[in-house]
Amino acid sequence: MSKINNSAIRQGLIRCHDCGTLSQARQRRFCPLCGCRLHGRIPHSQQKTLALLIGSLALYVPANLFPIMTITKFGVGEPHTIIGGIIALANSDMVPIAALVLIASILVPLLKMLGLALLLLYVHLQWQGHARRWTRIYRVILFVGRWSMLDIFMISILVSLVDLGGVAQVIAGSAATAFAAVVVFTMFAAKSFDPRLLWDNQDYE
């Protein structure tokens, strides 16, 4: 499995995912301390990550095409897509906030999906070198994912506050569900990716 001798799995040792206890792979199937099932690597890590990545890519399309919310003023509805909302913010001289939303709801999901795809390619094609850098990219992807929920929380607050019937109302759109699913799927995708796979095929120490 692994070309490097100094990795735990080559020595027949498995580190528990949850509590970090080292166990002999041959002797135990369950961690002696926390009782969870022992796996040398996350089972089917690449397949799970790829499946969730494809799912989030597919959902990313409706998330950007359909309105994420509709602002009704005096009976006239004004649907906003994600990009439309950012442009509206930028037009009303709120450029820093517009930039924040742009980063959280466009750049982060896109770069995250691109990063996960590259990580999968790195493992699948057994690319050599820079494993440390790719591990760092993995860490960033893991950390940054939740911040995309910003838009969803903002909508939930707007929906609850602006509720004056036909006079003024904010209604969440179908893209909101799709976008939330993108965020959740990519979070799970990042969690199912096993960064140790990046190191398993390295030829050097």
Binding site: L22, C34, F153, M154, L161, V184
Partner: protein, 207 residues
């Protein structure tokens, strides 16, 4: 006692002779740079104190209004729950569930679990579910998103500031305090230490 303890890096599986870093030091994996261990001073006591504070703050943060607006003469207050119920009322139940979990349920469970674990370790009481509690706490951590919610509040307020009069409730103070407490909880909870203590309690129990 000179005990050489083997450890493996969680992110690259390198076998390491694990030393015990002192408080204020950090142990990084020499190969991939992953942060292995950063011990904190009095981790168990601090976790207990912080989670107790968090437990108290949960109530005002969840029950009192965070922000209110005055729109065309009508006052409307928003709590954490009203955001969830408004989404539910619009038939966006999947979103409502997601917002409920990440802004209300998971932060609360995190605090209760931290309290249960640190309480048991502080009084050195064994409980068969202790390992499970700590496992759940580790997995739920990233799904509690109070800090992201705070940004959501800020962006929503900026959007509303042009069309309505905003006022901030006492709940927002409690919410921000809760946010700080959860952040401090996460940085003070010394996972390897907690697991060692649990292993010790486990061992004592079995004797």
């Amino acid at each position: 006692m000179y005990e050489i303890q083997l450890d493996a890096c969680p992110e690259c599986d390198l076998l390491i002779h694990a030393g015990q870093p002192e408080v204020g030091e950090k142990a990084h994996c020499p190969r991939c740079g992953c942060l292995l261990h950063r011990p904190t001073q009095n981790s168990i006591e601090r976790t207990l104190a912080l989670s107790l504070t968090g437990l108290i703050l949960l109530f005002p943060a969840n029950l009192l209004p965070l922000v209110g607006i005055k729109l065309l003469g009508k006052d409307q207050d928003g709590t954490l729950w009203s955001g969830v119920s408004a989404l539910f009322a619009e038939n966006m139940w999947a979103l409502a569930v997601l917002v409920f979990l990440s802004s209300m349920l998971f932060p609360a469970i995190n605090i209760v679990l931290s309290l249960l674990i640190s309480g048991h370790l502080y009084f050195r009481r064994f409980h068969p579910a202790l390992p499970n509690w700590l496992r759940w706490l580790q997995h739920l951590g990233e799904w509690a998103m109070l800090e992201v919610y705070t940004l959501g509040i800020i962006v929503a307020c900026v959007k509303l500031s042009s069309m309505a009069e905003l006022h901030f409730g006492l709940g927002l103070c409690a919410f921000i305090a809760l946010l700080l407490i959860t952040g401090m909880l996460a940085s003070n909870l010394d996972n390897p230490l907690f697991w060692r203590q649990i292993a010790q309690l486990n061992h004592e129990q079995n004797q």
